[in-house]
């Protein structure tokens, strides 16, 4: 909660005047105006509710994630955006006591249906975490891990490793030390390795949970460039605390907030507004969105 005003002040771009260049930048990314909602969604959530034990964490979220688009989930801490993200590949199953109601569909199939195997879901919908988490293995083995555990048919693992590392813009930096431990890489390189590791399993969707929050600005810029390249091949959903980042990379933005329950005081996350990133940052329709992006609350 307390982080946002400081961040906004430091960035200093949240007054209506200085927003203009930012939105211009975003509009350069899309050549023709996009429809308000993705016409061909890869994933959708329908009346998604998430509970941790008795705690109602997320209330009635309806979202659609467009093919080859980057969708940003933004909002103050505790607004449920990470929870929603983790529902998209059933990583929330790992939290003891977590319960999901409603539907999350992937190409029309509800991934919370009874006969769906969460392991299989995760091979289609990959995830990159907040803190780079390379395995304590060689760079090569990090990349080969996913294809090996999922039993992917691979003609040449060497080629696949190279392809994944090139895809994550890491190949030139590590091609001579593939057998060295991944722990020796810098934070930014580790995060790109984690992205490479994810794309090696050839997923359809990549979820990113604040992928740059542990990185310096240069490493952050490289990851953002990478995201813009990756969206040609993948559908990307990113949770971010950094509104500039959302404005720079995303096509659509969903703004979440937390509403305290009148009786218990528990804060339940809800979706306030979902629209083109341009619209969210230049002409939001909800007052709360405008307050948040202009740094008046958060």
């Amino acid at each position: 909660m307390s982080k946002m005003p400081a961040e906004a002040t430091a960035n200093g771009t949240h007054t209506p005047h200085s927003e203009a260049p930012m939105t211009t930048f975003v509009s350069q990314a899309g050549h023709e105006p996009l429809p308000k909602l993705p016409p061909d969604p890869v994933m959708e959530t329908k009346a998604l509710n998430v509970f941790y034990g008795d705690f109602h964490a997320v209330h009635d979220v309806d979202l659609a994630f467009g093919r080859n688009e980057i969708t940003a989930l933004i909002g103050p801490s505790g607004c449920g955006k990470s929870t929603v993200l983790r529902c998209l590949n059933r990583m929330n199953d790992l939290v003891p006591g977590a319960r999901v109601e409603g539907e999350v569909t992937y190409h029309g199939q509800n991934i919370y249906a009874k006969d769906v195997d969460p392991i299989a879901v995760r091979t289609h919908i990959g995830m990159v975490f907040q803190k780079p988490n390379p395995f304590p293995k060689s760079i090569y083995d990090n990349i080969a891990y996913g294809p090996r555990v999922t039993g992917m048919k691979v003609d040449s693992m060497d080629d696949l490793v190279e392809e994944a590392l090139r895809g994550a813009a890491l190949w030139d930096e590590v091609k001579d030390k593939l057998k060295q431990s991944a722990i020796g890489l810098s934070g930014g390189q580790q995060q790109r390795l984690c992205i490479a590791r994810t794309i090696a399993t050839k997923p359809d969707v990549i979820l990113m949970d604040e992928p740059c929050s542990a990185l310096d600005p240069i490493a952050t810029a490289r990851i953002e460039d990478l995201m813009l390249e990756l969206k040609d091949d993948y559908t990307i959903v990113i949770v971010t605390h950094n509104m500039q980042q959302a404005a720079r990379v995303s096509d659509r933005t969903a703004f979440f907030t937390a509403k305290p329950d009148k009786t218990t005081g528990n804060r339940t996350g809800q979706l306030v507004e979902y629209d083109l990133t341009n619209t969210i940052f230049s002409n939001p329709s909800d007052q709360r969105t405008e307050d948040y992006i202009s740094g008046r609350f958060g």
């Binding site: 003891p96 995830m127 304590p136 590791r197």
Partner: protein, 301 residues
């Protein structure tokens, strides 16, 4: 410098210098008491070791390792049977305790529902089991051997049962700690790539936990190698043969030391003293190896 400034400066100097309050009589007495507490244990242990080493000094020779216990050649009596017996016992104990201990720990950490009543009862009782006197495990091993139909229980298998049961709680507890030290980020990273819990454990968590598991197991074995009580209950006695299998009659270094030091002949007592030093070196060596593995391979996340 004005007079006023100089006076102030002198006052400061006076307040900062002089006899420290940390050096008064009461502080020094208290410090002395702390030093005494620190050295009491160390000095007693050191005196014991030096005394034993001096007593055993005449017998630090090759025969100590190569010869069996002898009533005729008392000066050349050796601990071959005990040393080889202890090696056999340790190897068999390790073979039993390590897979069982790791298996139990992996189940408790990675698969069991940690909030369930059963898991909590097991948790508490593992700590209790680690504190059970070793002789109780000896009696348990006697019962197991009886059930298996062995009349003479002083064999490698019986001793290994007792010692494996003895160190199992230690192996389980240290393995759990080693597994717990692997951050959940790593597990989640693996699961997010489509790996199963089993693959994640086998390919990621366990390899990362190996140094911790090795350290705990070696410390457990170094406790087991010095045990005599559970083996005495099993009836391990003097043996004049090398063990050849898990059903061989066996003795152990601590058992031999116990038997020989109780004899009246001086030669035996000298030999026992020398064997105590051998046993100590063995245990210290194992502990050193455990510490080495921990420092060299343990990862900080």
């Amino acid at each position: 410098m004005s007079l006023a400034t100089r006076t102030a400066s002198d006052a400061v100097t006076a307040s900062l210098t002089g006899k420290s309050k940390d050096r008064d009589v009461r502080s020094m007495v208290f410090l002395g008491a702390l030093w005494f507490s620190l050295f009491f244990g160390v000095v007693v242990l050191l005196a014991l070791i030096i005394d034993t080493a001096i007593a055993g000094a005449p017998r630090f020779d090759l025969q100590l390792f190569t010869e069996y216990e002898s009533r005729i050649n008392r000066d050349g009596t050796g601990f071959r049977a005990g040393i080889l017996g202890s090696v056999w016992l340790m190897a068999t104990t390790a073979l039993m305790a390590i897979p069982l201990g790791i298996g139990a720990a992996v189940y408790l950490e990675e698969f069991a529902d940690k909030k369930s009543r059963v898991a909590r009862i097991i948790e508490i009782n593992l700590q209790n089991l680690a504190a059970v006197p070793s002789i109780i495990y000896g009696m348990l091993a006697v019962a197991i051997m009886g059930l298996l139909g062995y009349v003479y229980k002083g064999i490698v298998l019986g001793g290994a049962f007792a010692l494996a049961l003895l160190i199992l709680p230690v192996v389980i507890i240290t393995t759990r700690e080693a597994i717990r030290a692997v951050p959940s980020d790593i597990r989640h990273g693996s699961l997010a790539l489509g790996a199963t819990v089993w693959q994640t454990t086998w390919r990621n968590t366990l390899p990362s936990a190996v140094p911790g598991i090795a350290t705990g197991t070696i410390l457990g074995l170094s406790r087991a190698i010095g045990e005599a009580a559970p083996l005495l209950i099993l009836g391990l006695a003097t043996v004049r043969d090398d063990p050849t299998g898990i059903e061989s009659k066996v003795t152990a270094l601590p058992i031999q030391i116990y038997n020989l030091s109780a004899m009246s002949q001086l030669e035996y007592q000298v030999a026992a003293s020398a064997a105590i030093i051998v046993l100590l070196v063995l245990i210290l060596g194992m502990n050193a190896l455990a510490i080495f593995i921990r420092n060299k391979f343990q990862r900080s996340w």
